[in-house]
């Protein structure tokens, strides 16, 4: 990991030509891969170094800082927005806030389940799986309701496929194995129609992000993909070219929107404060602006029962 850092620092001064630069970047990526594959015991060191590489976020884990894990259930790659949101949260909560991002849902889930972070914006699917190790904080309101859908998409130039079952033997892109919309729903959809999800497609792969599913399907790398409907619609506003290369062939029933969860041993006061802050966003000018950028209408406290349908699907898929 230290070598990682050295290489990253090195490529600032050592880039002489494209080949060298590429070699350094590729090498850095390679190191990242190994790091990611590394044991969780090095989690703390990893996060510290990862944050060092992200100058927009606080350089150190400050004592008493509120640590919030983020996953690609929203467009989590907009760093300027994240900075604005963090600053707003710090002002409202009157304490430092640290956003913690990881390459996949699993690592964030591991962090919150292990109590390494306080809150996390996760998917409904892992929430129902670990609901006894987590506490529900708030559920976003999208188009006025705490629900969202999974979209099944195909490349825009594929005019023949009209349902998931048309994609038999094709290459399919999932977003994350811990995503409801990007994994569980298509798995359930195949299982429910009597197919074996593990053999239905000739190949499948994970892109570790909804946005990248749209990209993979758009360029034709995958013949189909499953994506968070809220992310797809938001992306359609910010990057219409990306979504324009895809076509929605199926929309799932409504599921509970990916919620904010807290670690199980969160002090009640902290949970209440954070929930109140989220719920109070629409009432604040800057909060409302941040919500507008998220294309959300606000948050509600929400009930665990919102995710019953996801739990049912998970149980069904697990049984097979």
């Amino acid at each position: 990991m230290l070598r990682c850092k050295v290489l990253r620092a090195g490529n600032v001064i050592e880039i002489r030509d494209e080949a060298t630069a590429f070699a350094l970047i590729i090498a850095a990526m390679n190191q990242d891969d190994h790091c990611r594959a590394g044991s969780r015991r090095r989690g703390f060191l990893q996060s510290a170094l990862a944050m060092a590489a992200m100058p927009l976020l606080p350089a150190r884990a400050e004592a008493g800082a509120l640590r919030i894990g983020l996953t690609p259930v929203f467009l989590d790659d907009q760093l300027s927005f994240l900075t604005r949101w963090r600053v707003w949260l710090e002002r409202r909560l009157k304490r430092p806030v640290v956003f913690v991002q990881r390459g996949n849902y699993r690592e964030v889930l591991d962090l919150i389940r292990g109590g390494k972070i306080d809150f996390a914006w996760i998917c409904g699917y892992p929430y129902v799986r670990y609901r006894h190790e987590l506490r529900l904080v708030a559920v976003p309101l999208w188009r006025g309701r705490p629900y969202y859908q999974s979209y099944l998409i195909v490349p825009d130039d594929d005019a023949k496929s009209n349902s998931l079952t048309d994609l038999r033997g094709k290459v399919f892109a999932y977003s994350d194995p811990d995503s409801n919309s990007g994994y569980l729903y298509p798995q359930y959809r195949l299982t429910a129609s009597g197919e074996n999800p593990s053999t239905f497609f000739s190949r499948h792969f994970f892109t570790w992000g909804h946005r990248k599913v749209v990209e993979a399907v758009g360029v034709g790398l995958a013949d189909g993909g499953a994506v968070d409907g809220y992310v797809w619609e938001t992306l359609a506003e910010f990057h219409p070219k990306l979504t324009g290369a895809t076509r929605i062939i199926e929309r799932s029933p409504e599921f509970g929107h990916p919620p904010f969860a807290a670690r199980a041993d969160i002090p009640e006061l902290e949970l209440q404060q954070f929930r109140a802050t989220l719920l109070g966003m629409p009432a604040d000018t800057e909060g409302a602006e941040l919500l507008r950028l998220l294309r959300l209408d606000g948050f509600v406290a929400g009930q665990g029962s919102l995710f019953n349908e996801i739990a049912r699907m998970a149980a069904r898929v697990r049984r097979t």
């Binding site: 080949a19 891969d33 190949r203 994970f206 990248k212 790398l221 995958a222």
Partner: protein
């Protein structure tokens, strides 16, 4: 080629210099372009190989983990859509497994996951065979002649075990814009250099040719117009052309002398021939003439008193006498017994021409340095001078001037008679001394012929100078032997 050989040096030298400059420029440009091309393609290949190697190393983990998306992101990161050097961009990146099936490609629509690149046909069908050749762990560069791409293949090796291949396909066409750009730049530089050098080369080449042209131009006037050739402006340098010019000037001078000599000889030969002819004729006429005159005299003395015959014979006698005088004039006969030429002879001559000069208001001036008698026959010299003076008075302008100068020096008597009348044209000069060649109405045309003959008999020399607007001068030189 003959037409080319006939071109004037004034053009040929500059054209050759231009051709040499152009040829050199083109050769240098071509050499530079070729070198640059080689370097470029070598760079390209080295770049492609190192890129393929880095990719192969990087793609091992995604391939082992079956992480298609990460592999796709890696191969995409090697492509920059707004690259400065598009020819360094791989057009196609293929990652294939051991069965030569696509694991991932930069063009998923063309090479879908799991398909065989061979289904694209063409060069892709032959890549497999190339992969199996040689050592499985070494890089290969394949440049199929029938393909618009060339390929760099790097094996994916993990712990000595082959997993598949990374194939980078580079467009041969994308190489062209950079190369044509290079050629264009080289051509532009060459053009700029030529724009600077060409006029200089042209002017200096023209300058090299100019003396030769001047020489050739002067030579064209030989031998017809030697004077023009002699006055032509020729190079005044010390190099070969300058030497040539000097030699030419010398040659023209000698030619001119020779020409003058020839024309003089021609005149004297003709006069000599005329002299021989007239002497012969005079001799042939004199013999019967003498007889006829004697016969007439005899008849007058002893004949009858026939008045008609006397009258007729008298007529004959006058006629024959005239013939005798004419012939005598043609054939100047010298009499050996004569007195020496004295300075007072000149005074006598002045008296003789005075009447004529007075009639035409011509002023006669004498410049004589003679003080003593000269051992030359007075009669002949008086004849010469009288003829020349009378001619000069007749030729001089009304109220003009005739000048006679006489001097004796180094055994030569020098006489010169000049008048300020109209000059004698060149074509007339050649025949001036021939009998009956006179252009004048008066006189019998034998005056100068007699002068010539006498001078010849006295072994003297005679020449005439006549310039337009100047004097016409008859110069005579007669050698004499000083009495010891």
């Amino acid at each position: 080629m003959i037409a080319l050989a006939d071109i004037s040096l004034g053009w040929k030298i500059p054209l050759r210099v231009m051709a040499a400059v152009l040829g050199t420029a083109l050769a240098v440009t071509a050499a530079l372009v070729t070198r640059e091309y080689d370097e470029m393609s070598q760079n390209l290949e080295a770049h492609a190989k190192s890129l393929a190697r880095v990719m192969a190393n990087t793609l091992v983990a995604p391939m082992l983990h079956d992480d298609i998306w990460r592999a796709y992101e890696i191969i995409q990161s090697a492509r920059d859509p707004a690259a400065i050097a598009p020819e360094l961009q791989a057009d196609v990146v293929l990652v294939t497994d051991l069965e030569y099936r696509v694991f991932v490609s930069s063009r998923p629509r063309m090479f879908p996951i799991g398909s065989s690149p061979a289904s694209q046909g063409g060069a892709y069908g032959r890549l497999r065979a190339a992969m199996l050749e040689g050592k499985p762990t070494e890089q290969k560069v394949i440049d199929p002649a029938d393909s618009s791409h060339y390929f760099v293949m790097s094996p994916l090796v993990a712990d000595g075990v082959a997993l598949g291949h990374v194939v980078l396909g580079y467009s041969k066409i994308s190489f062209l814009p950079r190369f044509t750009g290079l050629v264009g730049r080289a051509a532009l530089v060459t053009l700029l250099v030529l724009i600077v050098i060409m006029p200089i080369a042209w002017v200096s080449a023209r300058r090299t040719g100019t003396p030769l042209l001047a020489l050739a131009d002067a030579m064209r006037h030989v031998p017809e117009e030697l004077e023009v050739a002699r006055l032509a402006e020729l190079p005044k340098s010390r190099d070969e052309i300058g030497q040539l010019g000097d030699a030419f000037v010398r040659m023209v001078g000698e030619l001119k002398q020779k020409q003058e000599l020839e024309s003089q000889m021609l005149v004297s030969e003709r006069l000599a021939a005329v002299g021989r002819l007239s002497a012969g004729i005079a001799h042939e006429i004199n013999n019967p003439l003498g007889g006829m005159l004697t016969a007439i005299k005899t008849w007058q003395r002893h004949g009858g008193d026939d008045p008609l015959a006397s009258q007729t014979l008298s007529l004959l006698e006058r006629g024959l006498d005239q013939i005798r005088h004419t012939v005598a004039a043609l054939l100047v006969e010298t009499k050996p017994e004569d007195r020496a030429f004295e300075p007072k002879d000149i005074d006598d001559l002045l008296i003789l021409v005075e009447a004529e000069a007075h009639a035409r208001s011509v002023h006669v001036v004498v410049e004589s340095s003679l003080t003593t008698p000269l051992p030359l026959r007075a009669t002949l010299l008086r004849q010469i001078l009288l003829n020349l003076l009378l001619n000069a008075v007749a030729a001089a302008e009304q109220g003009g001037l005739v000048q006679l100068s006489a001097a004796a020096k180094d055994g030569k008597l020098k006489l010169a008679v000049c008048n300020d009348g109209q000059h004698i044209p060149d074509e007339q000069l050649a025949y001036l001394f021939e009998p009956f060649a006179s252009g004048r109405e008066k006189g019998h045309g034998l005056g100068l012929w007699i002068v010539y003959q006498i001078v010849q008999q006295l072994n003297g020399g005679l020449f005439v100078e006549s310039e337009p607007g100047g004097c016409t001068t008859f110069n005579i030189e007669i050698p004499y032997v000083e009495p010891v």
